[in-house]
């Protein structure tokens, strides 16, 4: 029964990871690629980690308590991922804009006005 939950989590995770990687090749410019890769890989990784956490907890409760370590450490990895991944994406987007890569086909660009007033 629990093994089915683990399979489901793994399947959902790998599907979202795949869609995130395909998004890298489908979208036209850096910002839209960041949309795809950040959201989908974060969500997919969370499901893969959830599968591992359930696996460790299952073993720990069926008589092998050393597997609890697996769950705890995977939980730490998950929290780290949730904090660092959006921040890294923000850093890349900011660096891309400041190094002169403009969003392709943008209908409105309010950041341009800021830089015209501010730096140059």
């Amino acid at each position: 029964m629990i093994i089915l939950v683990i399979y489901a989590f793994l399947a959902i995770g790998i599907i979202f990871q795949t869609s995130g990687v395909i998004a890298l090749h489908q979208f036209p410019d850096v910002y839209t690629r960041l949309h795809g890769s950040t959201k989908c890989t974060t969500f997919g990784s969370i499901f893969i980690y959830l599968a591992v956490i359930v696996y460790g907890a299952w073993f720990a409760f069926s008589g092998q308590p050393e597997y609890a370590v697996l769950s705890i450490h995977t939980l730490i990895v998950m929290v780290l991922l949730l904090v660092t991944n959006p921040t890294g994406a923000h850093a890349i987007a900011r660096a891309a804009y400041r190094s002169g890569v403009m969003p392709k086909g943008a209908v409105v660009d309010m950041l341009k006005e800021k830089y015209r007033v501010g730096k140059k």
């Binding site: 890298l24 090749h25 893969i48 697996l70 990895v77 890294g88 850093a91």
Partner: protein
């Protein structure tokens, strides 16, 4: 049935395939930020890969490696971004 770890190995192989697809974007990417985005995606995939491989090979030490890798990847992404910003 319990503890075979086979299904986790399948997922690990799938993640390696996805990493190779990302590598194509690193090589193709027309601008520098494109390559950085692909590298960041590869970092996330490597973290998931290490965790899954740790379960498949029954070696919990891999999870600790994943923790250290997550922190180092974050710092390196920040530094590459900083470098790109300063170069413009």
């Amino acid at each position: 049935m319990i503890g075979s770890g086979f299904e986790f190995m399948v997922v690990a192989v799938a993640l390696v395939v996805l990493m190779l697809v990302c590598l194509a974007r690193v090589l193709l990417g027309p601008t520098m930020p494109d390559r950085v985005v692909a590298l960041d995606t590869i970092n996330t995939l490597v973290m998931a890969f290490l965790v899954v491989l740790g379960v498949a090979l029954n070696a919990i030490i891999y999870i600790d490696v994943a923790i250290v890798y997550a922190l180092l990847a974050f710092v390196s992404t920040l530094f590459i971004s900083k470098y790109l910003e300063a170069e413009a």
